[in-house]
Amino acid sequence: MRGRRKLGRGVAVVGAGMSKFGMYSDKDSKYLFAEAFHEMLSTVDKGIDPKDIDALYLGNFTNDFFVHQGHWGPIVSDLLGLTPKPATRTEGACASSALAFREGVFAIASGFYDVVLVGGVEEMSKRSTEEVTQGLAMAASPYEVKAGFTFPGVFGAIATAYFAKYGANREHLMNVTIKSHNNARLNPKAQFNVSIRDIMNQRIEKVRTKGGPIPVWKDEKEFLRDPEANPVVAWPMHLYDCCPISDGASCVLLAAEKIARDFTDNPLYVVGIGQGSGKGLHAKEDLTYFEATRYAAREAYGLSGLKPEDVQIAEVHDCFSIAEILHIEDLGFFKPGEGYKAVEEGLTRLNGSKPINTSGGLKCKGHPVGATGTGQLVEIWKQLRGEAGERQVPIKDLRVGATQSLGGTGGTCTLTILERR
């Protein structure tokens, strides 16, 4: 890095919206984006005329494969009535809309545009699990695919390396899952807005009405240990360690800092952005961290002048339970090898000292790949503005929140830090 990075001028988030994430047979990705866009418009406190949007950056990963359409930027631009303004699609696997956000920030920081819409969209559930697995494998390295690795498999292997190095085990991963579900229970936009306890009760109720032996689980962990309830996907990744297949859309509105208060008295300023790239699984020096996340974090902290301890809440890319543990270490929230202990001690819970994935994370909120990056920002938008309802974190003077995305098997990682002033 030559010299310190800086943005040409300040950029703020002035609106944010998302569709409910889920599996839809009656809604396509365009419709879901329209929902996200409408909600975003309603969150701009002083209003926005869509005609004032200078450009659209749209994250999407699998459209070519799943929908057999690749040129999705202008299609969404047309949908929203934004043509002939420029529309650009960004691709960074599961970090696609995090890259759209970054491009939008750069476009405003350069002085070229004043108001930019950034978002992401993905439509996955109309394909079979096998097709989705194959489609997502497009984000892995060809060596991993040929060795039989699936995405849960890659993270399963990472988990075994982490377990061996730090002495963690499957029980520690369960703490992540239980926490994510507890948060998602309070998030009406989450695909699974139920706690593990709710799921246990639902199952017992189902057996009661249908007949058969009533399952007895002492607690959530016993349920998660039950191979009938929580089968192996790619050991040690079980069903409840994995994010679901989802459809969904999300977007945020960016404005130049100098005009941000034309839209709201409560904008969130983009103080840190970082992005890194990483090697394939075989070429990583150590399987227990992501070099791309660490690089992205150094960039974002460097730009903002903030330290990990200054970030009060974060949404991190928990595509698999083990990933959340690695990310909170890579971002410097906890020391390497201590992330799983922090989760066990409850530090990352809603009422902990460092709440992580208050939305329920990818695991429970859902992971419509391209929509995830800006979807994370929607949560931080709500939390920092005190609009997160039942799941509002009880931190006094909540000002700084961050989102971290990971694409592929760590090929593209980003960190974004937002601040309320």
């Binding site: 498999g153 075994t160 061996a164 050991w235 075989h282």
Partner: protein, 138 residues
């Protein structure tokens, strides 16, 4: 052999000949498996082929119950999971590979650090023939 370009096509061809080959930078000596046309340490492009002995240890693994179509075709499924892993070779580089000779239904019996030896799994025939890199506990 020396004339083969340092790319994935050559790497696959070597595998079909029961050889695990990497590239070595003539300038700084860094070894890469699969081969690379550019050294990621010194960015030199003068490479030579280097033969891996095929011994190493298991550093990470997973037992996959829901695999891609080509693995399902081999007969693997939820009841018959297969094992994929990362192996660190004695030469100091790591590769991803299938792990044979272990029980995917009993992951607790598979240990990180287990010494393993190379195997080449030849599948299909004619134009569809493929060779998969695999390792098996010694």
């Amino acid at each position: 052999m020396e004339l083969r370009p340092f790319n994935d096509i050559s790497y696959e061809r070597f595998l079909s000949e029961d050889k695990l080959m990497g590239s070595r930078c003539r300038k700084c000596g860094v070894v890469s498996v699969p081969p690379r046309p550019i050294c990621i340490k010194c960015h030199g492009s003068e490479m030579e082929w280097v033969d891996m002995k095929g011994k190493g240890k298991l550093v990470a693994f997973t037992c996959i119950a829901i695999g891609p179509p080509f693995m399902i075709k081999e007969g693997y499924d939820r009841r018959h999971p297969y094992v994929s892993g990362v192996v660190e070779l004695e030469e100091g580089v790591k590769v991803v590979a299938r792990i044979e000779g272990v029980d995917g239904t009993k992951p607790e019996t598979i240990r990180i650090g287990t010494p393993v030896r190379i195997e080449f799994l030849h599948r299909g025939g004619g134009e569809d023939s493929m060779t998969f890199l695999a390792f098996r506990p010694l």
